[in-house]
Each structure stands twice: as structure tokens, then as C-alpha cells.
Amino acid sequence: MKNIHKLLVANRSEIAIRLFRAANELGIRTVAIYSHEDRFALHRFKADEAYLVGEGKGPVAAYLDIPGIVAIAKRVGADAIHPGYGFLSENADFAQACADAGILFIGPTPDMLRTFGDKLAAKRLAVQAGVPTIPGTEKPVKPGPALKKAAEKVGYPLILKASFGGGGRGMRVVENASELEPKLEEAMREAGGAFGNPAVFVERYIRRARHIEVQVLGDGRGNVVHLWERDCSVQRRHQKVVEIAPAPNLEPSVRAALCEAAVNLVKQVNYLCAGTVEFLVNADTNEFFFIEVNPRVQVEHTVTEMVTGIDIVRAQILLAQGVPFDHPQLAIPPQEKIETRGFAIQSRVTTEDPSNRFIPDYGRITTYRSAAGFGVRLDGGTAYAGAVITPYYDSLLVKVTTWAQTFEQAIQRMDRTLREFRIRGVQTNIPFLNNLILHPTFRSGTATTTFIDDTPELFRWPHRKDRATKLLTYIGEVMVNGNPEVKGRTDNRTLEQPKVPAVALDVVPPPGTKQKLQELGPRKFAEWILTQKRVLLTDTTMRDAHQSLLATRVRTYDMLRIAPFVARKIPGLFSLEMWGGATFDSAMRFLKEDPFDRLDQLRAAVPNILFQMLLRSGNAVGYTNYPDDVVRRFVKGAAEHGIDVFRIFDCLNWLPNLRPAMDAVREDTTAICEPAICYTGDILDDRRDKYSLGYYVKMAKELEKAGAHILGIKDMAGLCKPYAAHKLIKALREEVGIPIHFHTHDTAGVQAASIVKAAEAGASIVDCAAASMSGMTSQVNLNSIVEAFRHTPRDSKLDIDALNAYSAYWEGVRKLYYPFESGMLASTAEVYQHEMPGGQVTNLQEQAKSMGLGPRWPEVARMYAEVNKLFGDIIKVTPTSKVVGDMALFMVSNNLKPDDLFDESRNISFPASVVELFEGKLGQPQGGWPKELQRIILRGKTPLTKRPGEVLPETNFDKVLRELEDKLKREPTEVDLLNHLMYPAVFADLEQHRRTYGDTSILPTDVFFYGMRPGAEMTVELEPGKSMILIFLTMSEPGEDGMREVFFELNGQPRSVRIADRSRKGVAHLHVKADPENPGHVASPMPGKVSSLGAQAGQTVKKGDKLLSIEAMKMETAVYAPTDGVIKEVRVKPGSPVESRDLLLTIEPKSE
């Protein structure tokens, strides 16, 4: 017996470390060798001594440098060498060189290595031992009479194999004799072509094969034991991926026969040390065949150790020294006492990108948190945060082995363990491994060698970019490229987080109007309203106020923070207007939030005050007419998610348009139906008799008859002056029996008086906004109105301190939204001239500026009034107000005067929205359209006289749901459906945003719009009980690929994201993807460069016209116009690089 003092490990990474551990436990000093490329690798530091090997030889060759390794061993006094697996482990010359140098080689003798290295010699050995080998011909076969006989001897099905095989070439499976000759000719031809050698052998084909191997130990004196088997059937391209011990679902008789065969085979050579005998087992017949012997430690030896308790590496070291099995240091029991207990599974975690065809990934590991716990064993290589993965070696990062009492439990433990890992910075195959071990085939223990190839679903997994990384990517994107919503409108001002007034959250909000409505139902509730002496107040801060002042940009985040305060401190409000109008579109389009999420979350926070929304009758919350069934479904959904008051208006005050939405509310919900009359004109001015007091009274009566619970007066432009308000409400009070709800905008600055007069005349409810969010185009000041009625019979009894704290909060919030402020400094009486709705004034100003008409704004405002007159003095509210605005801009920019429109020789091409309006696509105005103008605008088209919703086809919701499921790749919820029905393209963008960045609505508003400042710390609550603490550190300069690296500290750990800097033109391009739903979007079919461009903006094209060519990979692909139309925008130039599906140009399709 030879005693080892110092052991050199001729290997690297995880196996080297594994061997050092075993040696260390035996009290042996350890020596590592490392290549130049491995000078920072972990195994170097795990040994007692480490030496550079194979200098100048290259990363792999260094570890194959036999003389170099032996020289180091001799120089440093190592008396033994362990080769591990791979590299020199099966190299007989190396074993010989060690022996010649008087160094103990831990492994079989050189002769044994030679025998098992020669496939034919090994096969002969198997035949001698009576171990079955795969039947096959020993010599190449040729077509002819002998062929059939040879084939029959081998047995069908069989496989034809080229002698110099590889890559499947020259291989053919033959099922029966009739296929034999033709397939042989094919195989020979292919083999001849591919390898220049047409020699083909015949072998038995095993369709469903399991790869089972038996671990053996020998003492070199004829004693051999086996440690049972491992199932290594799960392989990818002949690489084992997951291994199991013992093999599940293996018949005991087969198991016993395999182990016996393995022992008999290696006994022939008096095997020494550890070895593995590999077999193929036919899963259908249980026949088994010998493949080869691996005379070394295997990667997957861990699973055997876990189930037998025997340390295989320790055994190797001791057996090589001549220690007998029963020596106390070794303590290998007699064969009959060697048992397996439970099941062990090993997964090889590699730095390969499974979504990119397993390309090895390199780079620095930024985060490494490994798993642990009962039944988990990790054999890691260079795996720690900060480690650099180099491209020179095998990509194995860590072997994860789990043990449990049953196979299923071991799978559960493996699943948990893999999920517990957090590895960032390099891609790993963990998602693939997770899919694999959870697959029913694997779980049932019936996987065969083709399992991975035959199971494409293993390669599909939800893109598991973690939430933190997604949010970091978003924040990085904002800091590198800016949020497009505020781009060019920001200065570098310091922003403070708005302070939320304190409120005890454990206090249950007192009951309010919500409970009253639940108790009474809508009709009785309306009667209750009429009994109220106090003026009832609606707070519009969360809807109309920010829609009018801040372009509808206020985020759910800021509403949610104050919501508990409102519920507890201002519970006496009649309602909160917080949904509908433009907020639905804006939330999805600009704020990237789901409007239904806003509703749900606010509802949970405010359980006691009525929630009110603005519904644009047949346009719901959009700008076009939806089919009636869509509107109905939307109303039902909104009510289910918490809307109590539906204020419904029609942009032309046309009753037929209002009816379907009113019916939906009344029939399908228990909410309040509040149709609203849009107020325009001036009932005090006798010359404007189109919208007279009589007109409003008549309409009010009709609405009452149609089932309104409350009558809304919607003075969207703030035209209802104090005395007009008094006159109107007084008349209405006399004529209708339902409560009146008065809404106005304070654009002119006198509307507080209108509110007071309206209330005096009998309006039950009035709309106001928190002081700091009131005035000008918004509503009247809530706080002041409350005080105005104080100590009068109509005292609202609301708490002014609470209201002032509420206002102070919104003042702080408003500062965060400064880029959206209109810059309007004072109220204006101009509104009486142009009659623009509150929300439109600033919008139209913006539009005018973008068309270069900024300095001509007074002209635009005057033209707006002119257009209104031309159109016959119509109601102007979304969307009709937008049409009037479009027309005004059109006329000013084209220098047209009203008379010019009637000059038909000018052949004016009117804006599309104007044509649609006169076609009746938005409904019919009071008194009809001016006939002459309508004729000129429509150019012979026949206008609609029916309600637009009536002519739209019914919706096939099932079909829409199916299409949506295809798009979303998941089962759509009702909310998904409603969002999609309202705004299909915007919703798709929102989905894309959420896939890329996660739910950004949880970010504070300043971070959402402006990113973070260096050193700033932020806590984001991902979900209750899970928050991330984030500090922004710094940002790199853009690299040559135009990418910047943004560095953060996340929960105390360094993290970074790489973001394309789009300001660097020509390097990182703004790749906007084409919308496949949009018929005018032309997408790039492939990545490459634009090689020729024959299209320009403004050009008229026909379907099929060639627009441009993309060239890449020596392939030119022509792109054709998908539709007739006019090219609106060309986004590329010759030479522009493009990606697949990039938007190349847009075509405005020719309208029918």
C-alpha cells in the first residue's frame, strides 16, 4: 500500500474542486494546475498550492500538456495525480508517463485504459463475458443477395450507419426487408458524398432507448462491486443533461441483470478504481446492449453517492493506493449490503442561452445567489458574483443534485432548488432545466434518449426576465433616452415627493353614499338625494380636473396614495369622478397602466364614496362609434369593477345615441344612470335661439322619460353664466322630478357664482375640484365652495381642514407633472367667443404650435367660432369639438375663408374627420346639417340618417376572444377583452410595455417620467411584503454599439442594465415595430440593410408596387405596398440597418 502525501489534480473547475475536497478529508495536501486563461478561476484558490501549466499553449492544450504536468508534479513533490474526467482522464500515455515518473495515477492501469479506449477491444471483452452487444455487421455491406441475410441476422428495425459517421449523414432507419436496398443506396451515396467513403454498416435500431449505466469499483485484485445504476437518458446532442439514480421504472430483473453484466465485464481485467459501464436499454422490450466502459469518474457520479452513501472519489484515491474494500477508511460493504436509498437527480446548470439554440454565454456574473437546504448538493466551478465566465471551456457552471425519498419528491426539491437560484449577468439554462424536470414524461420516469429532441415544448417558457431587471431596464431607458411623454419639456428642477397627510389606516372608513346606494337602489337613492338639504359635492380631481389642467396625465400611483385619506377624512362627498372620459385612453397610451387596475385599486381603498365615470354614449371611452353590444358589455364590466354613477353624454345631444348606453346601465347594472345635457350657446341671449331654454327643458323631459335617475348638466366649456345657470336649473326643477347634477368649467373665472346660483335654484349636486387642482379650464374650487355654503341651510358639512390637507397633497403632486401644465396664467372671457370645451383649449394650442400656427393662435380661436357657425352651431364636446378644431386649423393653415368652401372650383379636400362628421358617423345635430355644405363636403356620398351604432354589425365576442388569445399567448380576461375592444392597438402596446418592463405603474411618478438622480434611493413595493430598495449609481458613456450601461444598487447588490442610446444616430437606431394589425404598416421581413428605396412620403402607391429592398446575407428581399394608398411616412433611408418586423413606412390606405 502506497501512501499519498500530495495529490496533483490535472483538471479544472468543479471536478478539480470536488477532488480537492476528497483529498483534503483524507489529510492529503492538494496541488492545482491552471492555464493562463484560468488564472482567476476558483479551483486555483481551493487547492493548497497552484501552478501555471502549459504556458503559451492555449487554454485547452495547457491541460493536455503531459510533460508539463508531470514536470510540475515532480518539481513540487506530488506523489499522485488525479485526472478527473475529460482532458487526460482516459489517456493511457498519460497514465504511463505518470507511472514512468514514479507518480501514482489515480485510475485504472494504462493497459485497462487502452483496452477500454478501443471500441472493438471493449466489445470483444463484452462478448467474452457474455454481455449482449448491439447486433450488427462487422464489415461494410453492399447491395446484393448477401445483404438480406446479413440484415435478417441483425434483426429489424435496423439502422444503416456510415463508417465515418456524424451529424446523421449516411444514416437510414430500415423498417423491413423491402426498404433495405433503396435505403442502402441512398445511404451509400450520401456517405460517399459527405465523407468520401461509401462504406455503410448495419446495426439493430432501438427506437426507444434508455441510456442506463452502472457504477463499479474494483480493487485491482479481482474484487469488483457495483453501486447500482444511473439513468442518463435525458441527453441533448449526445450530452447528458439530467441524470437520475436509481433509474426510475426499471424492472428489478433488468436492473439486476445490468449490474451483474457490468461486474462480469470489468472482472475480466481485474478492474482497478472507479468505472462506469454504459448500456442502451430498449424501453419496449427490456433488451439491453453494452455500449462502452468509462474508466474514470463521471460528471454524474454525484447521484450514485447520494443514494448509496459511498464517496466515489475517496474510493478512487484509496483503491489506487491498494487499500482493500473493508479498510475502515474505505468501508465498502459487501455487495449484498450495498443498497440505494431514495432517489437523486442531478441537473447540469450551464451558462448557455437556451432561447438562443444553447449558444454559450460569457461575461461577468453580476448576481449569484445559490440554493441550499436539506437534500441539496452543489458542485460548483467558478460560480460566484463577480466571476468572469470565459469562452474557452465547457459551459458547466454548477451541478445541482437533489435527493429525496421518492423520485417525485426529488423532482419537487429540484424544482424548488432551481427556482431558488438567482444568476444574473450571464444566461443560464435554468428555465430549460425547470421545464424539463416538470415535464410529465420526465416525471413518469419514461424519458428516452430522444426526449429532448422530440419535445419542443421544453424550449418554450414564459420569458422569465425578473421583475426587478424589467423595472431597472425601464428606469435605465428613461435615464438614457427620456420618457417620450416629457421629452423636450423638462428642466433640471429638483422635485420633492408629495407628502401624504397622515391618516389612521386601521380606522374603518365611515359609511357614505356608496352604502346608501347599496341600501336603496338607484331610484330610491335619487329620491333620497332630493330630501338632502345640504349641497352634495362631486370631486373631479381624479378625472376632469387633471384632464383639463394636466393633459389627463395623472397616474394611479398618485391617486392611490391619497385614496385612504379621502375615504376616512372626506367621506361626506357625493362622488369621486375618477374614471372614463379621456383617462381610459391616456392611462393605457401614455401612462402604460391598465385603467381597470386603477378602478380596482381605488375601489379597494375607497369603499364608501360613489365612483363616477364619464361615458361618451355610443363612443364609450373612445373616439369612434362602437357596436351597441360592445358598449353594453363595457358598461357591465365598468359597473362590476366599481363604477356607481354613469354620466352619459352625446356629442350632439342626440337622444337616439344616448338610449343604448342608458338602457345598458339601467338594465344590466344597479348603478345610477345620469344622462347629461351638453350646454352650449347662451340662454340669456335671445338672438341665439337654437339652444334655448325650451330646447333644454324638452330634452330633460325626454331623458327623464327614458329612465334617467339623475339629470346631468354638462357645461363643458363653462358657458353657463351665473344667471343662465339660475334660469336653467329653476326651469328644469319645475319641469322634471329627478335630481339635477351641475357640471361646469371655470375657464372664464366666474363659475363659482354659477355653482352658487345653480344650487340656489335647486341643483342637488355640483362638481368641484380640490383647490390646488381647480380654476381656469378645470372645475371650481371645492374648498371655497364648501366654505361659501358654510352656515347656510345648504352647508355641506365637509371638513375644511381635511379638504385643505387634500389640496396641499395635490399641490405637491401637480408639481411632478409640470411638463403638462398649459402655461395659462389667468382665466379668460374669450371662451364666450370660441366656446371651446375646457380640455380642448390647451390641446388645440399644442396642435396649432406643432403645425407652426403658434403665433396665429388668435386667428385659430376666431376661426373655431366661424367653423361652428358654418357647421350650423353644433354642440362642441369630444369628439365633435375635435372636428371643429381640425377644420379651424385646416382653414387657417390653408388660408381659407368661410366663403372659399363654397367655391367648388377649388376642389377642396376636407379633413377625414370633417367628412365623417357630415356623413353622420357621429350622429345627427339639432336641426340637421347645413345642406349646401354637406353636399360639398360629401361629394356625392350619401349621409347616414340612422344611428351609427345601429348599422354596425353585431360583435362575435368568441371570435374576438380567440384572436386575442392568439395575440396575447394566454387566456384573455374580461378586462383584456374590454381594453382590446376599446383600443386594440393601444392595448397591444401596453401589453408589449408590460412584457418588456413589467408593471411600471408601481414606480413613483418622478421616477416614471424623469428617472433617478445619482445617489437617490427609492423603495418600490412589488407586491405586499416584497419591496426593492434601489439606488442609482452612475451611467457609462455609450459604447461603439451605442449602448450605455446604467449602474444601480438593488437591495444592496450591484446591478446594471445595458440600454441603447438612441440619440446616437446611425449606431443604435430607434427600431419601432410595425403593428401587424395596421394595414398601412409596412414591416421589414428580415434583419439587414435597406439596399434600395423607391418610395417617398406623399407618393400614391398601388397594392403590389415595389417600395424598397432589404439586403442581408447575400439575399435581397423586395418589399411591396400591402394596400392602395398614399405614403405617409418613410422611416428608413438607403443603408439604414433594420431588424425583423421593424416599421419601414406607413401608408394611409385609400378610403373606400
Binding site: G193, G196, R357, I359, G363, E1040, A1112, M1113, K1114, S1140
Partner: protein, 266 residues
Amino acid sequence: MTPPKGGRVRRTRRSNSVGGFGETALPERSRFALPNVRIRAYARLRSTQLKAIEDLEAGRLAVPTVIVAARQTAGRGQRGNAWWSDAGSLCATFVLPAAEIAPGQIPLRAGLAVAEVVARCAPRAAVRVKWPNDVIVEDKKIAGVLCERRRGYDVIGIGLNLSLDLRRAPPDVRRGATSLQKLGVRPPTRGIVLQELFRALLHAFSRPDFWGAYESRSIQLGHPIRLRTSTGEAEGQCVGFDDEGRLLARCERRLYRITESDQIAR
């Protein structure tokens, strides 16, 4: 199939196969037949590729078609480069219905098809593919492929050197080109080569094991390559190809997706 002198000879063969157009419509054992395929042979053309595209755009082409010319006077290479040829080169353009794969894979698959035909003709030669589709034997180019996609059709132009007389070739061609004859192989007839190319193309466009086959023929995979980047040249390594047909190169810590062969210096 020796083309007659001058003029255009139209040889259209139609089979009565019911399988329609597809791989199965080709009988395994027939020697010269390309059922359902129109062959247009010309004695002299500016370029078969140009002709195919002109005819396709003009709606004068029934597909599938092979256009073949005995001589090309203005053969096309990549990006308007000339493709030098003489009487010993096979110049053919195949027009097929667009394959249902990412367009970027078409040139790679076509290149593999040509390489496999060359390998069958020259069994002893190590026939490799240089991304995207140069067919290389012993460091010299034996075939080139040029692809275009037009109006729902793939137009695959192939130049294959059967027996080039390189003495008359320009110096760069002489240095960098080879032919079957030079490799010591007696070239098969043009008809057989055309038929093999056609079958190989169909096979290559549909085979599920394409990537394995392409990778094993790749001259670059796993080897260092030199990239031309915006700031100069850099050493990288070819680590694979993506599903869009791009070459993936790792350079320092970065993965580059290469679309143009001139982004690779060598």
C-alpha cells in the same frame, strides 16, 4: 442538354404527377426528369438572375422554373459585383415559391444545398460553407449563391464552377477560385447537376435538421474571425447562427449579429 447556338429554346416538361409541387413529386430513381419544372435554356444571357427577375416582375414566369445560360455576359455577384464565368461554369437561377421559413435562412439553406451537391460530385473533397453561402473547397471558392425574394417567390442564382479555364480569368479569380475539374473530378453533365441542385434546394428548404448540417459544414463556427466595427477591426469568435440567418460573433463580452459578409474582415 447542350444549348443550341443563339436564340432561346424553350423546353417545357410537365409531368402528370398529382402530388403537385413538392419534394414528393420527384421520383427517387429518375435520372433526368424534373417533373413540373420548366427549364429555360439560353445560349447567351446577360445574367440568369436578371432574366429571372425581369420575367417574374413582368408576370412572364410560371413557377417553378430554372433559367440556365451557357454563357453569361454580365453575371451578377453580391451587391453588383461581377461574377466571372466561362463556358465551364454552370449559371442557373431557380425560381421557387417562397419557402415558409425566415427569409434570412434562405441564402444559408441554399448554400448548404449547393455544398452538398458539390460534396456528392467530389466525394473526397472537404466541402465547407463560408457564411452565408460561399462554397469552399481547399480554401478556394467553387460556387457562389445569390438570393432574392420577389412577389412571393424565391429567386436562387447559383454559379458553380464545373471546369473553369482559370488561365483566362482575372488574377483575383485565379487565386481564389477552383472547379470540380481542378479537384480531379470529371464533372457530371449539366442536366444532372441541375437536377441535383433542384432536389437539394427543396430538401434544404424543408429539412428539420438544417442547423446541424449547416453547422457541421461551416468553416467559421468555433473559429476566430475578425470583425469590422464602426471603430475599426476587432478579434472575435464565431459562436453560431441565429434563426434569422445572422452570424453570431462574440467579441470581448459582446454578441454581434452579423448580417453582411463584408462586416467580416476574415
